[in-house]
Amino acid sequence: MIQVTRKYRFAASHRLTSPQLSESENMALYGKCHNPFGHGHNYELEVSVRGPVDERSGRAVDPVRLDRIVSEQVVEPFDQHDLNTEVEVFAHSVPTTENLGREVFARLTGAWRTAFPGEWPRLEKIRITETPRNFFEVSRTDGQA
């Protein structure tokens, strides 16, 4: 069994604000991430896939198919967009990178069977780097949480 990881990038803006909190509570909690006009990041996304090595191709995953599903589900809808106003789930939840990671995992899981109808490869984990000092991982085992 091999784990293959491929890295993707998207640039997006967001603003951290929770409708369940008051203005002063939001400011205390999120600080400058609560700035009303928002701000952006160059996100890096690592997608890790696990499977046996196919004898014919020597590969555990077809990188073209993987690129296509990640592009359709994540890069195209997120890149050069505002997460709060243009990605539906963030109308109801705060686009922290924790929630963004769950959303990315859910999108890939939802489209997985269409892209990869067989038993393998399986989506193992994703890792999103928000800045070089902050990164967030969601694995298959906690993807349902």
């Binding site: 784990q3 990881t5 014919r56 191709s57 020597g58």
Partner: protein, 134 residues
């Protein structure tokens, strides 16, 4: 505890299965099937598992790890055309998946505490191999 030694080698390869036709290879591998080959600066992370020795404070002497990796892998892989010059890549396609498996196979007899092999083909693509369950 896990400790990792990182090494690099540069090699050329072509992603091509000799059992398939030119057209099938082209469909499967695209540009990487160009018969003249192309190259990468590969980065390999060799990870060992263990507890620090109470006397030396080390899980394993990384100098020794480096010697083994040099002898068993780098001297054979570095500046070679993998398909033509390195077994078993005359028979199996030198994808990063198969390279990771081959490096594991070469190192495991000498590094019994080997935990995993990570092979970066580019900054944006890497594979991890943890051996097969016994």
């Amino acid at each position: 505890m896990l400790i990792t030694k990182r090494v690099e080698f540069s090699a050329s390869h072509v992603c091509r299965n000799p059992a398939l036709s030119d057209r099938e290879n082209q469909e499967l591998f695209g540009m990487a099937a160009n018969p003249h080959g192309h190259g990468h600066n590969y980065v390999v992370d060799v990870t060992l598992a263990g507890e620090p020795d109470p006397v030396t404070g080390m899980v394993m002497d990384l100098k020794r790890v480096k010697e083994v990796v040099n002898r068993e892998v780098l001297e054979r892989y570095d500046h070679r055309f993998l398909n033509h010059e390195v077994e078993p890549f005359n028979r199996v396609v030198p994808t990063p998946e198969n390279i990771a498996v081959d490096i594991w196979r070469r190192l495991k007899p000498h590094l019994t505490s080997l935990h995993s092999i990570r092979v970066y083909e580019t900054d944006d693509l890497f594979v991890d191999y943890f051996g097969e369950p016994a």
